[in-house]
Each structure stands twice: as C-alpha cells, then as structure tokens.
Amino acid sequence: MDADNRIRQEGGTTAREATIDAIIGRRVTGSVLPALLLAACNRHQSALAPFGAEAASTRTLTIVLLVAAVVIAASMTLLMRHAIRTPGERLTHDQGMKLVLWAGGVFPTILLFALLAASLPLMRPAPVSPADLRIKVEGEQFWWRVVTAPGPGQLVSANEVRLPVGRTVAIDLAGGDVIHSFWIPGLAGKMDMIPGRINTLVVRADKPGRYRGVCTEFCGLSHALMAFDVVAMEPAAFDGWMAGQRGASATASAAAPGAALFARYGCGGCHAIRGTDAASAIGPDLSRYGNRATLAAGILPMTTANTAAFIRHPEATKPGVRMPAFDHMPEADAVAIATYLQGLK
C-alpha cells in the first residue's frame, strides 16, 4: 500500500489507476508466478520431466533451441543498440557490405543449418522388431480402448496403458470414430489416431512410476476430459501383471448384488466383463475396473461414490458422453453396481 500511496502523491495518478496497478501487480506475483513454478513440479504429465528416451532427447533439443533463440535475440538487440548509438560514417561502404554478408547471410545460414542438423536425428523412429511388445490403442469419444499384446492371449482393457521399463514397445494407434491424438508427454512425442489407419509409435520407458497421457486433437465436447493413466513397471512385475490379468475377473464378486443389477440394467450391451455374459466392446472394458486409479478416462479419482454418480449421470462429468444417463436408477442400485465393479480386480 505504501507504494500505491507514493504513486498517487508523486505522479498525480488517480487512486483507481494505482489500485488497478496494485491488483495487476498482486495478481502477477500472487497467482501466475506460483502457477509457473508449480508447473515445473508436475512430474506425472510433463515433457520437462521425461521418463522415456524420446522425451528426454526432445527436452534436450527444446533447451538447445531455446538457449539459441535467447542468445540470437540478445545479440541482435545489442547489435541494433550499437548501430543506433554509433555516429554515421563509422564504416566504409565496403565494410558495411561485408558486415551484412557475414552477420546477415553466412552466420545465420550456418546457425540454422546446425540447428536443423541437431533436430533431424529425432525424426528417425526408434527401431522395432517383431518380438517387441505391441500395444494397440484406439481413441473413442472420449476414452481409450487398450489391447496389450494383441493376438491370442491378448489383454483388453481401457483408459490405462501399462508398459515394462527398459523394453522397446510399439504402440499401434487408431481412431475408432473421429481423429484423436495420443500423447504421453513424459514418454514421447504425440501422434495422431486416424480412423482406418494405424500409426505406430515406438517408445521405451526408463523410469518406473505412474504417469498420465492426454488426447491432443480436438475430438468433441469432452476432448479436454479425455486422458489416461500410464503405469511404467519393472519388467518382472509387468510379466506377472500380464499373466494375472488375462483370465476371468475375480469370480467371488459374481454373487454380489451388483452383478445381477449390472445385467438387469443392460450395461452388458456396451461393456464387457470377462467371465460373464457381458462381452460388448462399444464402451470401456470393465473386467479389471477395480485396479484402475481413475475413472471416466483419467478424470475422477476411483471411489465408489464417484462411480455411482457417474453411472447415473455420466453427462454431469463429461458433456457429450457416449453413455446414456440412468437417472431413473435408485441410488442404492448405483452404489451396489459401483461396489461390484470396484471389486473386479
């Protein structure tokens, strides 16, 4: 407030202007700055916090380009300042032409070529062999169909990509309905998912942990609510997980009241649960629902209350969602189904 008062007295600035200045000033230091700093702390969805080789080299390239841009901008500014301050006729015509040739032609060409050459190796896709693990991911409005190791013994799931650390993994990407784009910022660059086409992204994770990926091509109302969990696991743990997940879901829950309700409400018309009659692939596979950390494609924390609320009113969470509302469903039924689903591990 001291500063405000001084401005008001000295400069004859109106009180209102000073207040606005103060508010803007406070806003900049009060929210933008911490937000910027917080962004640097994001370790699960950030191209600046890589857990894969490709993202790491992209980060290095970004830093190189950024530093180069700053150096060039600063030296141009200094050069211009020098040119403006220097009295005329300091250079002969010949010297001036030489300066233009070297500083304006030769130097930028060499510099640009160096930057081009530095970035080109990143365009080379990593090598992949038929023995490498493949994961097929299909983008749907507004969720992800994930098939790990397609073929006999494949593992169908949704909204969660698990991959072993230290092994090359080929991710085959397709669009189920419209164009989506698959991006795990910490792992690799983004790649489009186009209906009728398969684009292959080759990745290699090098740090176990839980991360997050997102859709980066506008695909409808809930585009911004289309994310997924990424779990990078130690190879042995990954193999164990694969073996354990392939079979039918925990049968103990077949007797749960929610199982009958799930069938009665016709949820099986869109969802599949391995080991039951529900086998449709229209919506996300719910066989191992209870193992996921989030629901509705990385949007809500996995709790019974959230699941029950989503079942009755998915559109409240995701506008334009492709699952109908079950608003006539009593809450008790929704909770029973949610409990059953969360028991599927």
Partner: protein, 125 residues
C-alpha cells in the same frame, strides 16, 4: 569461356534469369515430397540408395548456379562506374542481376535445407 562471357554480357535485360532460381527451388521442393510419398506408397519403404534423388538435387543446384553465374557476369559489366541509379538499360540490368544473384544464393540454401531431411529420413512411419 571468354566468348561465353561476352555473349552473356550482350544478353538483353531479362526477368527469366531472375525467375529461374526460385522456380527450381519450388520444383525441387515438390520433387522431395513426391520422392518420399511415392517411395512409401509404392515400395513401402525409403529407397536405400537414392541415386535419383541425389541426381535431382545436384541438377537443381547446377541450374541455380548457372542462373547465378549469368547474373554475376551481368552485374559486373566493365567500364560502368557507380552509382547505378539511373533509369538506363545498363543500370536496370545491374539491378536485376544483383537481385538474381541474391535469389540464387537463397534458393541454393533452400534446396540444401530441403534435401537434408530427406537424406536423414530412413523410415515411412
């Protein structure tokens, strides 16, 4: 060689030499895209030894160099002291010639910058 230089010097003022370098650059640009697209669509992979592509790039650079050389000869007509700012035929020729020279340098850089990624790419993905 002397005779050639003499001939070039006697050429009348022409926009054609000026247009050659950027046109060749554009043509080479298209050629590069077609090269990648056709190889990937027809053969399913990048050509392992791209003789044709190297030949096309060298040809483009030669054409640009030729335009640049003609322009250099025209820009240095002897016995014509500066300044070159009158609306005479000779000064107009000098102006066009210098513009052509600069365009030739730019186009040659453009061709090299376009060819480098093609040389680096190894895969249709």
């Amino acid at each position: 060689m002397r005779r050639l230089v003499e001939r070039i010097r006697r050429l009348s003022v022409s926009l054609w030499t000026l247009i050659v370098p950027p046109t060749v650059w554009a043509g080479h640009f298209l050629f590069s895209y077609l090269w990648a697209a056709l190889n990937c669509a027809k053969a399913g992979r990048f050509a392992t030894f791209p003789t044709l592509y190297v030949a096309g790039t060298v040809l483009a650079l030669l054409l640009i160099a030729a335009a640049g050389a003609i322009a250099t000869v025209q820009a240095n007509t002897p016995g014509d002291p500066p300044p070159h700012e009158q609306s005479t035929d000779l000064d107009r020729l000098r102006f066009l010639a210098v513009a052509t020279q600069l365009l030739a340098v730019l186009s040659a850089i453009g061709v090299v910058f376009t060819a480098t990624p093609v040389a680096f790419l190894t895969d249709c993905r």
